[in-house]
Symmetry: C2
Subunit: 120 residues, 2 copies
C-alpha cells in the first residue's frame, strides 16, 4: 500500500492513534478493562450488533490493542493496551501546557480567596 501521495486519510488501521479516534472503539476498550469478553457478550453489553463488534475488534486487533483467544466457538477478546503507552507519552510532552493553565486557575482562585479574606 502506498500512502504517500494519494492519501485520502490516514487509515484507521494504520496506527493506534487512528484506531482509538473512533469513540466506539474507546468504549470497547473501556469495557474490556473489566476483563476478557466474548463477541456476543460485548454486543449485548454495549447494545451493538454482532458484526459491528467484530469489525471494531478487528481494527483494535490489527493495531495490537486487543488479543483474542478462541475457546471452542467462542472468541474471548482481552486488552493488550501497551500500545496506548505511545499516546500517553506523546501527550505527556505537552503536559506543561495544561499545567500552565492549571497554575493560572489556581492563582486566580487564591487571588479571589485573598480578596474575600480582606473583606472580612
Amino acid at each position: 500500500m502506498e500512502y504517500n501521495n494519494v492519501m485520502a486519510r490516514t487509515p484507521t488501521t494504520f496506527d493506534v492513534f487512528n484506531a482509538i479516534a473512533e469513540p466506539k472503539r474507546r468504549e470497547l476498550m473501556n469495557l474490556l478493562q473489566s476483563g476478557a469478553r466474548t463477541v456476543n457478550a460485548i454486543a449485548e453489553m454495549l447494545g451493538w450488533r454482532q458484526p459491528q463488534v467484530s469489525k471494531h475488534l478487528a481494527v483494535l486487533h490489527r493495531v495490537g490493542l486487543v488479543q483474542s483467544e478462541a475457546r471452542g466457538r467462542e472468541h474471548y477478546y482481552r486488552l493488550d493496551a501497551a500500545g496506548l503507552r505511545e499516546i500517553h507519552e506523546w501527550t505527556a510532552t505537552f503536559e506543561e501546557y495544561w499545567e500552565h493553565q492549571l497554575v493560572r486557575i489556581k492563582q486566580h482562585a487564591e487571588e479571589k480567596a485573598r480578596m474575600a479574606k480582606r473583606r472580612d
Copy 2:
C-alpha cells in the same frame, strides 16, 4: 449535523482524538512546542504547501488545540494543548496494562541474570 445513524466516520473536527489521529497534525503540534509560528514559517519548516498548513491549522483550531493571533497580515499560531489532557488521562486508565508488561520484561531480564550468575 446528524451523526447518529449515517455516520461514515467520526469527523476529524469532532474531538481532539480525531484531530491528532492525523500524523501531520501531530507533527505540527510538535513543531509548535518551540513557540508560536506564522503559517508560512510552518510551511517552510515542514516543507509543506501553505494551503495544507492552513487546513491542518484550521482543524487544530476548531478543536481548540491551537490559538491564533493576527499581527498585520501574519497570523501567529501557538499551542493550546490543554485539550490533550483528556487523552492523557484516558490512556492513563490503561497504564497498568503496559506496566504489567514491563514487569514481565523486567522479571524476565532478572531471571536471565540469575541464570547467568549461577553459571559462573
